[in-house]
Amino acid sequence: MNPFFNTDAATLSPVALFLQADWVVKAVMIGLLLASIWTWAIIIAFSRRVARTRREMAKFERDFWAADDIDAFYKVHGTSELPSARVFAAGVSEWRNSTAASPIDKSGTRERLATAMGASVAAEIDHLSDRLNILATVGSVAPFVGLFGTVWGIMRSFTSIASAQNTSLAVVAPGIAEALFATAIGLFAAIPAVIAYNRFSHGVNRVEASLNRFADGFHATLSRQLDGAR
């Protein structure tokens, strides 16, 4: 066949194993391969995004606590895409809406501030962990899909034993090898997905905790402001 690829059965060539496989096993392999590619794409993108987000959030909070005028700070950072900036913007807009009326309902304003910022935190975390469910799905399902391909391929190998009336290893071995290749791909996709899922869950939790701390701090600041206001 292709002179570049070793397609003889004696090698560990994935192409050869794929080409010899049954169509069910082929479908399983293709699906698992796509899952693996998608998993790694998520892993790469997510790790970059989480790292950047945490770095920028730390910088934002430093700037925020160092800023004197919240209104001026809001003018600069009000439209930022950063989760902390979104929470900050949600708090500021709620503060402005609540303090627009002349008799200020202090406790109601505090509740609304907390609710608005909590909702903003939740929305940001949701947006951040959007792809994690894919990792979880791949990590838990891919081994079973691979196992399904293996079982199917081994069943087919046994059928070929029966048809060839020959139990020698040479008859069974290629079929079993290609069948096991499906499990191999499944594990190949699942193991990084599980590891990445656990690691990114931890990262998202840290981001959420940090956002909540920031929201609480901002809420405390606004609450103090509310007490000072007439």
Binding site: A10, L12, P14, I37, W40, A41, I42, A45, R48
Partner: protein
């Protein structure tokens, strides 16, 4: 899909392509299993396999020293005693100073023996030229030829005395006296003698009787006692299931050396237990009745497992 995810997708796809490409070109190829495949071995199933040496392996006699021989010894030419002493010819030419006529007997084995000859010759030679004028003097001349033959005759004496003394020594007598003219001495190889000798190897003729031979002997004995066994009457139902292990001590001529002894019985159950003694007696009687056993292989008599002491199973016919 964000930009970061597109980048990640591209990187992941490229990584998978590279990995599978590497695997495809044999990056982790297993060795060719064709080399591991065993070559088929032809197997033939045989019915009888004798694991032990079945045939007698008589120990060979030790080799005999056979050395190249020189053929029948020849008689020594009798030394001409006559010419020398009674030749007092005064005018004898002193030319033959070398004792050529001196008998050089063929079988004379020792080359150093002729040593005296040159000794004699020089002695005589200087004497000759010293007195060229004194020719009439026969005394020295006589002495010289005399000495030469004497010396020469003395040389062969030690080896060919017998033949030489007989004078006419014929070939017969010479051969009888010394039948062998080996170039090598008797002890040219230690431990090997020139005479044929019996083996002192203590090994028995056959190491053991093989299983097949034992079965053949047993079958032969069974065949010969079958007439006696056929005459016997079963003492009761179930008695023919009893198998008696019986031990025979047989002489070399086939007769029984002693009364056969019963080593035990098998196949005894509740039905035939009361017939066991009777069957054992019948078994002994059958062997005694057809006693002289013929045609057993004599070479397997006295080897371990041979038929000098043979145990076999007997059962009543039927």
């Amino acid at each position: 899909m964000e930009r970061a995810e597109k980048v990640g997708l591209g990187v992941a796809a490229a990584g998978h392509l590279v990995l599978f490409g590497l695997l495809s070109v044999g990056f982790l190829a297993t060795p060719n299993p064709d080399k591991l495949r065993a070559t088929p071995v032809e197997v033939s199933l045989v019915e009888d396999v004798a694991l032990e040496s079945a045939a007698p392996a008589p120990a060979a006699d030790p080799a005999q020293s056979i050395a190249p021989e020189e053929g029948p010894p020849e008689d020594a030419v009798p030394p001409e005693p006559a010419p020398a002493p009674p030749e007092p010819a005064p005018k004898l030419q002193p030319a033959p100073p070398l004792p050529a006529p001196a008998p050089v007997p063929r079988p004379q084995p020792a080359p150093p023996k002729p040593a005296p000859q040159p000794k004699a010759a020089p002695k005589a030679a200087p004497k000759q030229p010293r007195r060229p004028a004194a020719e009439p003097k026969a005394a020295p001349k006589q002495a010289q030829p005399k000495a030469a033959p004497k010396q020469a005759a003395a040389a062969p004496k030690p080896t060919t005395t017998a033949a030489a003394k007989k004078g006419t020594g014929s070939t017969q007598t010479a051969a009888a006296a010394r039948p062998r003219g080996s170039r090598l001495g008797d002890d040219f190889l230690k431990g090997l003698s020139a005479e044929p000798s019996r083996s002192t190897n203590p090994n028995p003729p056959a190491t053991r009787v093989g299983a097949q031979q034992a079965a053949n002997i047993g079958a032969a004995i069974q065949r010969q006692i079958q007439p006696c066994a056929n005459r016997q009457v079963s003492p009761g139902p179930g008695a023919e299931r009893i198998r008696v292990a019986i031990n025979l001590r047989i002489n070399r001529d086939g007769s029984l050396a002693s009364r056969p002894t019963v080593r035990g019985s098998t196949g005894v159950d509740d039905d035939n237990r009361r017939y066991v003694d009777r069957v054992e007696d019948l078994a002994v009687a059958a062997f005694v009745g057809c006693a002289p056993l013929r045609g057993l292989p004599p070479e397997l008599y006295d080897v371990p497992g041979g038929w000098s002491n043979f145990t076999l199973r007997y059962k009543l016919p039927g």
